[in-house]
Amino acid sequence: MRRLVVWNLMTLDGCFEGSQPWDLGFHETVWGEELEQYSLQHEAGTLLFGRRTYEGMYDYWSKATGPIADMMNGIDKAVASRTLTEATWNNTRLLKGEAVETVRALKSEDGNDVFVFGSADLLDSLLGAGLVDEYRICLAPVVLGDGNPLFKPGRKVNMRLQGSRQLKTGGMILTYAVGT
């Protein structure tokens, strides 16, 4: 089974974006050379997105340049959606239907880890079905108060701490294995 790893920046009060969709201003508090390097050095085989994150990522990265843009545009990608009819971003396949089923099938293929960015709605379904193996979170030293939570209200998860790393910018990269 391929492992499914979640990677997100998160505020101290558990938010992955502000009150407006795609409000990622808080990223500036931790972004820098170290985080850029970290983003390029992952071992992902496939990036998986829910529809909303896919559409925003496609829009942004297909117009961007630089090493991260090259990586994002070139790497194998998949979008899990019941409503999309096609995925036009380079090297992206559409997983049509119920995400729990299509992602379970994706995990049972051969290949390196599946990484998920953003995609909080998709992640909530996958978490409920026991399909998430690891969380990698970069904790930003801010509190938004009214942002969008990475973990949906009511969701309970037990994890084990696997590692922690402090960045020069004051971000903390935390790695957790899901399940005890």
Binding site: L12, G14, A140, V142, G154, R155, R160, M172
Partner: protein, 176 residues
């Protein structure tokens, strides 16, 4: 001048909950050492009423319970409440002007004064009186609860991170 430190156990989704985080032996030992070196505790009513557990001896408390209780009973507790009429041993009520009272406390003592819970910490944050935030981050998502931070706040500066036991990370932040 004493430093005011707001330290609590917190879930990954940002909540404090006195029931959810039964500390393991190493974390509990850490809390005993903190209690032994603190100058005093500044509490809101709810946390004070929970902590009064340590004013009594309990047959079924954890192995080091007596050590924690001894340390906690030894140092003064200052309780911020408009509704409490009386407090227990080695405790006094803070009434009236919160800012004035806390400034006097800090000026009149050295070392560290711990603060809890989140509502009182928020009032003191707004007054610029908290010197340090210690988040004991546990690898659990609770789904609901009282937030450690009662409101938004601008960026903090991370000064240290320590693995207290195999699951608990203590993150220390100061106002930037």
């Amino acid at each position: 001048m004493a430093r005011l430190v707001f330290g609590m156990n917190q879930s990954l989704d940002g909540y404090v909950d006195h029931d959810a985080f039964a500390p393991g032996p190493r974390l509990f030992r850490h809390f005993i050492e903190e209690a032994e070196s603190q100058t005093g505790s500044l509490y809101g009513r709810k946390v004070y009423e929970l902590m009064r557990y340590w004013d009594e001896d309990h047959g079924d408390w954890e192995p080091e319970g007596a050590a924690f209780a001894a340390a906690w009973r030894r140092h003064p507790k200052w309780v911020v409440s408009r509704t409490l009429r009386s407090v227990g041993p080695n405790a006094s009520l803070i009434e009236g002007d919160l800012e004035g009272a806390v400034r006097r406390l800090k000026a009149g003592h050295d070392g560290e004064i711990e603060v809890a819970g989140p509502e009182l910490a928020h009032s003191l944050t707004e007054l610029g009186l908290i010197d340090e935030y210690r988040i004991y981050l546990h690898p659990v998502v609770l789904g609901h609860g009282k937030p450690y931070f009662a409101g938004p706040r601008p960026r903090l500066r991370l000064v240290a991170h320590d693995e207290i036991d195999e699951d608990t990370l203590r993150l220390t932040y100061v106002p930037a």
